[in-house]
């Protein structure tokens, strides 16, 4: 009797709580406004756009190849996939097909990126749930992979490695062995983390049955990638619409059943393993690359080659290999023949030609000068690839000039973030952190 009266008197109101945009558990800038009834979320409002950097507008400003550095910074955890997706879209528009070796390189590098992405995602989620050790282990593994990426591309993160019609440089010597070694290390780390997390009461209790999304909702919201696969829908661009040489590799698509955070964790863990299997297969299958040819005379320093050419002594240098400084590594003759397409209008000429003869020089200038460069035919194209968080598609409209008329990227995070309010509703406030972590939201790609 008394309590009832008391209840009548105490008036309860919903509370509004603002989280973000700069919040410790929000890795990435995003703002939530929650309406709370006690600890339960009644409704969630998501606000994005804090990292809008005008990617699409910037692409329209410069020539085609100048958009590549911007694509790095879309999903900065797996920049290589973005690079290749953009290049593949432009190549599709131009009707080009890159060489076998280059396709393998692209696949290997994409899969390495995917592993780094998932490592970051799980590591950060675990850290936010208090498992700091797992985060440190994951970062250690990521560091190994970054070192690998750095050897190939020259940068750890913002790589700009893809080029329309090829890649910037061939794989370095001894890459295959080293990768195998690194994968062994990564596997070790993953095993350790698996032990730390998969049967950890605290971790499992906080992620199991939390952040559930149904199959139908996921499809209706256009969600793809691990988030969709955790609900049991089998959609992976690599299988559904195979590109590059994915149809030659044997791999499986891990699927979940419940669509909760735990399933997403498992899917990501398993995907890493599958990616590593793919890398190993690709390393076995990759057609051989350039073997350094010494018969063609001693290598010559670039500056010397230019001087010789200026004096007209080109007969001697036509056959020789140029010695470049490290930033241009891989831009030499042998590499070009193996990796880049045979289309003078698409790729830069090898440095021997640029330094050594006038055609090469003109070719080079035709490519880099303002108002010149590659010119895909008029038209439009959409090319999807499987990014680390889902389908990453580039829609490019060309008006026949050297600049893209419009570049649109379909960001994989965007639909997920559109749905996250719905996923969070009805849950507890403390569940926001694991659910948000499992999305692996990358602000750069969400807001562009």
């Amino acid at each position: 009797m008394q309590t009832q009266e008391k209840e009548k008197q105490t008036e309860t109101r919903h509370m509004l709580l603002n989280v973000g945009p700069s919040h410790p558990a929000m890795h990435g800038v995003i703002r939530f406004i929650f309406e709370l009834d006690g600890e339960t979320i009644v409704s969630a409002d998501t606000e994005i756009g804090y990292l809008h950097r005008g990617f699409e507008k910037m692409c329209e400003v410069g020539p085609y190849n100048q958009a590549i550095p911007y694509t790095d910074r879309l999903n900065y955890v797996s920049p290589l996939i973005n690079n290749f997706a953009y290049c593949l879209a432009v190549e599709k528009l131009m009707g080009l097909k890159v060489t076998e070796r280059c396709q393998y390189i692209r696949v290997i590098m994409s899969e390495i990126s995917r592993v780094t992405d998932h490592l970051t995602c799980i590591g950060a989620t675990a850290m936010e749930l208090g498992a700091f050790t797992a985060f440190l282990y994951m970062m250690k593994a990521r560091e190994f992979l970054y070192e690998l990426v750095e050897q190939v591309t020259g940068a750890r993160l913002t790589v700009s490695y893809g080029r329309v019609g090829g890649v910037k440089a061939d794989l370095p010597e001894g890459f295959a062995d080293q990768t195998r070694q690194v994968l062994k290390e990564v596997r070790k780390v993953l095993k350790e983390v698996d032990k730390l997390l998969s049967r950890n009461r605290i971790f499992v209790d906080r992620v199991k049955g939390v952040g559930v999304i149904s199959k139908e909702d996921a499809i209706a919201y256009g969600i793809t990638g691990p988030f969709l696969r955790s609900t049991g829908v089998n959609y992976d661009v690599r299988k559904a619409q195979p590109y590059l040489i994915y149809d030659r590799l044997k791999f499986e698509i891990p699927l979940g059943t419940n669509g909760d955070n735990l399933d997403r964790y498992y899917v990501r863990m398993e995907e890493m393993e599958q990616s590593m299997i793919m890398i190993e297969q690709a390393l076995d299958q990759i057609p051989p690359g350039v073997v350094r040819i010494h018969e063609q005379g001693e290598p010559m320093v670039a500056a010397q080659m230019v001087d010789e050419a200026k004096m007209g002594r080109i007969a001697g240098i036509a056959q020789r290999n140029v010695l470049l400084d490290p930033t241009l590594q891989g831009s030499t003759k042998g590499f070009h023949e193996k990796v880049n397409v045979e289309d003078k209008k698409t790729v830069l000429p090898p440095k021997e030609a640029t330094y050594g003869n006038i055609e090469g020089l003109m070719n080079h200038f035709k490519w880099v000068m303002f108002g010149h460069g590659i010119r895909p035919p008029k038209g439009e194209v959409y090319f999807p690839v499987e990014g680390a968080n889902g389908e990453l598609g580039f829609y490019i409209v060309s008006d026949g000039t050297e600049r893209p008329y419009r570049v649109r990227v379909r960001p994989p995070c965007f639909p997920i973030m559109a749905a996250i309010g719905k996923v969070l509703e009805g849950g507890m406030m403390a569940d926001v952190v694991p659910t948000f972590g499992s999305v692996n939201m990358i602000a750069g790609e969400l807001d562009r």
């Binding site: 756009g49 528009l93 499809i219 209706a220 439009e380 959409y382 379909r410 559109a418």
Partner: protein, 160 residues
Amino acid sequence: MDILNQLKSKFSEYVIETHSQCGDATLVIKKEGVIPLFSYLKTSPELDFNFLMDLTAVDYLGREGSRFEVVYHLYSLSKNHCLRVKVDVGEEDSSLDSVSSLWPAANWYEREVWDMFGIKFKGHPDLKRILMYEEFQGHPLRKDYPVNRRQPLVKPVPMN
């Protein structure tokens, strides 16, 4: 390309043209056809386009006819096929029907198109800016918006 032909004959009053450049089946329609066509695409069992993969717009400033084109990319999971639908939208009456009742995914995409291009969607539940801030004037991805016209919220501190 039988999808295209089939749709062309079924919706002949709305379809302006079809093409399949680079193998992407494309349909260009008038904006009156948005609701009938998309509901058919979504519900018809032999097409079954259950994914709205992407929705964006392109500004063809200065071209003859309508200025904007709203571009939809659809995908069907069960049939594994894709379709691109483009809707012509003129400058004076730049509004068309929202498809967010068919695919909830369209909700945010349409907000983005409104934000970036200023194309209105009729029947959208909550059409407001998404990437830019409310105080922002104009629509940055329009071709006549200069790349570096800034509208700062915090005025830059002058150099001493």
